[in-house]
Each structure stands twice: as C-alpha cells, then as structure tokens.
Assembly symmetry: C2
Homo-oligomer: 514 residues x 2
Amino acid sequence: MNGAESLVRTLLASNIDVCFANPGTSEMHFVAALDRVPGMRCVLGLFEGVVTGAADGYGRMADKPAATLLHLGPGLANGIANLHNARKARTPIVNIVGEHASDHLQYESPLRSDVPATAALISDWYRVGAGARIPHDAAEAVTAARSRDGQIATLILPADTAWGPGETPQVASAPPPLVQALPETMARVVQAVKAGKRCGLLVTGRALEEAGLAVLARLQDSGIQLLAQQANRRFARGRGRLVVPRVPFSIDQAVQQLAGLEMLVLAGSHPPAAFFGYPNKPRLQTPPGCEILPLVEPGGDTLHALAWLADELGCPARPAAIPQAAAPTLPATDRLDADTIMQAMAALLPENAILCDESVSSGRSLFKFTDGAAPHDYLQITGGSIGCGLPLATGASVACPDRKVVCFEGDGSGMYTLQALWTQARENLDVLTIILANRSYRILQGELKGVGIDSPGEQARRMLDLSGPSLDWMALARGQGVEAVAVDTVGGFARAFKAACARKGPFLIEARIP
Amino acid sequence: MNGAESLVRTLLASNIDVCFANPGTSEMHFVAALDRVPGMRCVLGLFEGVVTGAADGYGRMADKPAATLLHLGPGLANGIANLHNARKARTPIVNIVGEHASDHLQYESPLRSDVPATAALISDWYRVGAGARIPHDAAEAVTAARSRDGQIATLILPADTAWGPGETPQVASAPPPLVQALPETMARVVQAVKAGKRCGLLVTGRALEEAGLAVLARLQDSGIQLLAQQANRRFARGRGRLVVPRVPFSIDQAVQQLAGLEMLVLAGSHPPAAFFGYPNKPRLQTPPGCEILPLVEPGGDTLHALAWLADELGCPARPAAIPQAAAPTLPATDRLDADTIMQAMAALLPENAILCDESVSSGRSLFKFTDGAAPHDYLQITGGSIGCGLPLATGASVACPDRKVVCFEGDGSGMYTLQALWTQARENLDVLTIILANRSYRILQGELKGVGIDSPGEQARRMLDLSGPSLDWMALARGQGVEAVAVDTVGGFARAFKAACARKGPFLIEARIP
C-alpha cells in the first residue's frame, strides 16, 4: 500500500465516497489507487471551477463533504472562485491538491508555485501532508471540513508522499460540538422582544433547511421579525413550508425592508452589509441606531439557539398552521421574459426538485413565484463569484440522483464554467439547465446606474453587451453531448420544460428573452 | 476627473493602450472612464483566464504591457493560472483589480476576500492604490511591469478611489537598467571553453528573438553547445534563422541530450530541472558533476552578455552562414495523426505567422517539422498551466493584426479557456485554431507510465479519457460565432488550412486523430 492508497482508504473510512477530479501528473498515484480501492466514485471535470463548484453542490445536498482532486497550484487556483462561494456557504469540502515531489521543490520548474499560500486563500484548514502522517493528516482534514457546520479543508499531497509507503488508514474523528449561544445574550434578546422592541432575527444555514424551518415556524407569532440572509447555502421552500423573506440584493430595497428595526439579532448570520459599497449609500442595511446583536456566531449551533429562544418566548411547541402562498399558475401571456419564465417554471416545477439559481439579474423576484410551488430545495450563489450555477447543479445531482435538478442560469455567468455540461453528459445526470439568454451582463447595466453613471458611452456599453456574436447555447450544449432546444415563447418554454421533466438525463433550454 | 479617469490617462500616457477586461460593479467607473478618454482599446473576455492569457500573448508580441481589468478577488483568482504562465514567461502585464470601497471592507459581504494575498501569488509588484496616489501608483505599476525584462504588476483599485477625485495623470518612468553579467563569471566561462571543457549555454527570453539569434549565430562555431530552455516566451524560428535545440520535456530524453556536459552556463535561464519529479529519476537534467554556472540571472541583460561572450571567444562579428533545414513538404500519406498534421502545417504555414502551441503531448516533435518552415514566431505554454493556447493566440492577434496567428491546441487543454473563441469572433481576429482532437488527456496516459503505473484500471482510464461524450469542437466554435470544419484526412486538413489562410478572421479546424 502506498501513500495515495492509504489516503483513499482513509477518506472512504471517513465516509467520503465521491471525488470530483481534474488530475495531472502529480496526482497519478491517487488516480491509480482508485482502482485498487473500491468504493470511491470519481467524477471528472474538464476545468477545476467545475470540480470545486460540483463539490459545493454535492456538499450542500449530501450534507457531507466530497473530496476534490486538483493539480498543483494552478489547478487549485482555477478552483478558487467556486471554493470562495462554497466557503461563504459553509459547505464542507476536502481538497486534495497534488504538489511536486518534496525534493523537487528546490528547483524552479514550470509548475512550481506557492501551493500553501494558494490554499490559505480559501481554506479554513490546510496542511502539507508528509509521508507517515498522511492518513492522520487526511483524517484531520475530514474532521476540519465537518467542523463549525462546514469548512474548507485542503490537504497538499507531495508526489513522493503519494508514491512512498502508506501507513494504516485512519478514520476521521467527530467534529467538536458547535458553539452555543450565551445565556446573557439570550436574556438580552428575550428582554428586548418582551419589552416590545422592534426586533428582527436574521438567519441562514441550517435554519433554512426543513428542520430549521420547523423551529422558525414556532417563532412566527412571537413578535420577532424573521428574515433570511440574501445568500444562503440551502433553503427548503415551496408548498407547506414557512416563507422566510430574504433581505433583497438591492441596497435601497434592503434598507426599506429593515427600516424601523431597533434590534437585529444574528443567528449564524453576518451583520447585513450591502453587496457592494455605493457612493452616497449606507454600507449597512440596518437603520442608524439599530442594535446588531450576534446571538450565534456563523458556524455555531443555530438550531439549538432558535429552539431555546422559542421556549423562552413561550412559543407553542408545535406551531400554528403555516400561511400558504397560492400555487403558481402558467402565465396568461405568451411573451417570454424573465418574469414569465419564472412563473412558468414555478408552475411546472416537479415535486422535490432541487432548484439551482444563478440567474443573477433575471431572478431577483423568483421567490414571489416559487413561495407556493411544489416543495423543493433552493441553492444559490453565496459568494458573488459568478460561474457557480452549472457546477452546483452537477454536484447536487451526483448527491441526489433521484431528484430532478433545475438550474436557472444567466448566459453571462453560464459561460464561466460551461464545461460542467460535459460532466452532466458523461455522468448522465438528471439536470435541466435553463439559460436566460439576454445577451448581456444585464446586472452590470443596472450597477452602472447604481454607482452614478447614467449615460454610459459606446465603449462601456460594449463591455456589458454579449451580442456580436450572440452565444448559441444549443450548440454549446450539443458540443458537449447535452441535448438542447431554444425557445422564445411561454408556450414553447412550457412544452420544453415538461418534456425535459418527463425524461431523465441532462437537457438544456435556451430561453431567448429581451 | 475622477480617480478612474486619472488612472486611464496615466496608462495611456505610459504607452498602454490595450486593456483586456472582465469587469464587475467595482470596476464600473474605470469602464465609464474609457468613453471619456479616447485611445484605450478595451477587449472583453467572457472568463478571466481568457483575459490574462490574452494579455500574455499580447505582451509577448507587442513587447510592451497590456492592462487587464479584473473584478475583485475571485476575478483575479480566475486569472491566476494564465498569470502564472505569463510570469514564467516574463511577460510584462499591468493588472488593475477592483476592490470594495475602503470603508466597506470592514464588513463581511459575499465578495469580500483577501485581494492583496491573491495578488501576491502571481505578482512581482502589487499595491493597494489610494486616492491621491493613484496616478503615481499606476505609473509605478507600469515601470514595474517593464522592469527586469518583464514582470507582473498588480494595482488594486478600491471603488471609492475610482469614483473619488482624480489627480494629475503621470507618465511611467523608464525601468532600471538590466543587471549585467559579472566579469569574473565571464572569465570563468571563457576559460572553460578555451580549455576545451564540454560546455553548454542554456538560453531563453530575448536570446531566442530575432536580435538574440543573430548574436547566438556568432557563437555557433565557438565550441560551446547552444541550447534553449524547454519553455520560452517567444522564439523566432523557420527559414533563415539559427536552429537552437530545445531541452526536451521528457526527463530521459533531456538527460540524454545533456549527457557529457562538464559545464552548463545559464544565460537568463534556470538550472534545468525536470518538469516533474519522478520516482527513481534525476531531478536535474544535467549529468552528475556537471557544473551549473549562472552567467546572467533571469531578467538580466542576456543580449549584452552573449555579445560579450562572443567577443571574448573571438567569434566573428558577422557569423558564418547559418545551416538551413530543408523546407517541409506535405506528407505522402493521407493518414491524419499528430505527426502528419505537424508536417502539413509546417509545409503550409504562411510567411511571418505567429504559431501558438499548446498541443501538449501531440506537438512534442513539432520543431523537427518547422525548422525549415516559413519564418514565424513561436509562442508556447511556459508555466505548465494548461488553458493558455486559445487566449495566447487571441492576445497575439490583437498585438499583430496583420499577421496570421495559427493556434495548435489539444482538446483537453482547449476546454479550459474555450471562451477565447468568442473574443476572437467579436474582435474579428485573424486566428486559425487547430484542435488536435484525440479525445483524451493523452499526456497523462504517458505520465502514468512515467510515475511507475503500468496497467491503470478502469477508473484511472476514465479520468484520462475525454470520450463518452466526445467533444464536438465545430459546435463549440459555432456556438461562439467562429466558423469551423472537422477533418480526418491529411488532404482534408491541407484544404481547410489553405482555405483558412486565404481569408481573414477566426476559423477553427477540428483535426480528428487517433
């Protein structure tokens, strides 16, 4: 048994059985070990952003880490953007990054770079593995990934460590208990609510999954205003589930939503800052004078704190009925635009689907349509680093092969990691991709105004415009083995959507909108 | 005039007039400034790896830096892999990276990350720009990029610095003189050669451009063995030019080539290390006991040192005739494979073309065919980080619009940055892309053996195989507005190549090979 094999056996013994990979020479022993050790499913991505984004989608839905296998510093660097998103989501991931043989690093060679410094950028835990310690290092990496409700752990694997002798595989130990809310802080929250202060409760993470929503439902009549972060790891939504309004992306709308609050309690969330700082706009979305009180730190035990809070506030153990939004219906018009697509999609969404959303500008009002849709899990971009949608859908489908994954993707953002479609084809994943083809960086056309530029000139317009030439997503999908159609009416979209839902396997709809 | 405008004016005044860009909200003022300040050509890339790779190709051919415009930490991160290649090539580049407004960084927001630490990974110079200093910072960045024969300079631009008041634009000062060889070292080299030691001279960089080759030609009969690094920034090749053999990629072949050397003199090059460290193979390619003597450091004044050496060795001021390789002819067979494509391409290459090579495994013997081809500049991957070919060709064409660019690209490596094709279409660049479609990471199939794995199993094979589904490069090109054909015979390839050379604008040939 060599080091690579003892690593693979440690990962398997620690309940990691999926590895998204884009390997190179320095990882060949790991790849070879996969055939000697049964049980690890290895999924190839043709670009590292696909690999790390898929690990994010997998981790969010499987609720356990996938491994990634990346080639040296540049391979890891190509994966940073989606690891950035995953880290903001608190998705557990274990990266295995190959490195030159230890005695080769003294020389300048083409692929030599500072791998530990690269890992440090997006890792909560990282280490350069060493010979006899490899199974221990790997087990610690898995524990780190599972700690604090999800972290990024990166184990750097020098090639000689992979081909050298392997030690006994280890099993990762359980992560330390989550940090809990302090009684003093809880008392302050309870006192404020009871005193009739206008309090908001900003949640994210597990609070928005099925079990968390059940606790939040207890709090719905407690007098505290429930709010979800703008971006969240995973959000259980649709018929039968409590609707928790998200803080909007737009700073103006967010300020309006939070207006009047005297206290904002943070449960696993961060102080609500604007997505960007704009000239002459506030940086924080809370009104001046509003106290921001962290009850549970990010990665802490939110569910425990919420149940405790409900108890303290005397909320019923079983909540009253949850108000239900009307079931969405197909639009009355045949005019295809971002709104009618969302409405049609909401009306046609299969039960228990996973809805991955990287629609950027087009999907801002999505929740209005999907509040009453069939129950589904909603996954979104969490770190603002575009190019996560297609990979996220890919990984979610690997985690949940029996659920339909619908990916709602902008044409600009989709181009960052379009190689994910190939992986969907190779693995025959049940992913339906909808490309919102508006042929522009539409969000930036709005952002120009937001930063005070009202009349952009020709050069500026050209930087935000994706026509000339227009992207043909049917060709881009078919070129990677994914069937596709283009539609430009609501009727055409609805027919394509229903047909795609009636079959298994990857499919893409290019929705041509104004 | 705001800060963004004073920055654009400083770049223009410092002779930077091309900006490869993928902007976001934090860069909108820079984008808007482009319309107020005429003269900057802004080229949009749909992924940052395209942006930075194009800046590399541009810098190599224009012999001056382009600017890039990148969005925050993740945007820069997406550009790292090709900046890694550019840095290894010593290509001058000035990166402008947007950052959150200074007073917004105190808050956790989705896109917040450590931009300076990201910049540090691939920059020789980096700085966070500040209000009144911006034009000075920008001018220093340009000087840094031009220093030491080419560096990566990264200026981080907080949004408030861009929208705040701008100061008087500056002009970059000249870079400091290049470091020259020391007389003592020169004396040692001359003594060794005169004493009949078996000496090699390993060169790279400017030594391989037209002017450098003229100096090397003086040395051809001096008794010192001329050698080029395996990877080089730019290599003037073809009819009428001195043939300087490259050290091969394969460690075994490299060791064989350098066998018998007693001294290896480095002129701007690094000690010749293997590309990867392999079990039971040497790390250095020189024979044991061979002295490695650095005469000029990387980024030093190689041309001066070579001329000086030629003088010291009593070489003629004007070299003897340069031995000429036979002009390549079309292959006699119609069987299309990597060798017959290279031979046909060499026979048909237009005069003064730029040949970008990221053929990875398929192109190892390219030089054998192109030694006697029409004169051309050869650009190659320098940092081993695949995904540089298509962007490199894009940038080279922006730099040299009147020259045909031929890009020789693997299907696996091409997929990393295929979005470059869209930029070629939008800018109507005269680039002919040849995809060597072998449907595998062929190089890794060889590398498996190199690291001692003789019989890979099914999982391992699947990680190196790109069929199932096969990529359809015609569709991938057309989907981005680039015309394309597929060929599977030498005759078909030659016809397509000639037709593509007879027209201007982007075109792609998918060459289906075993």
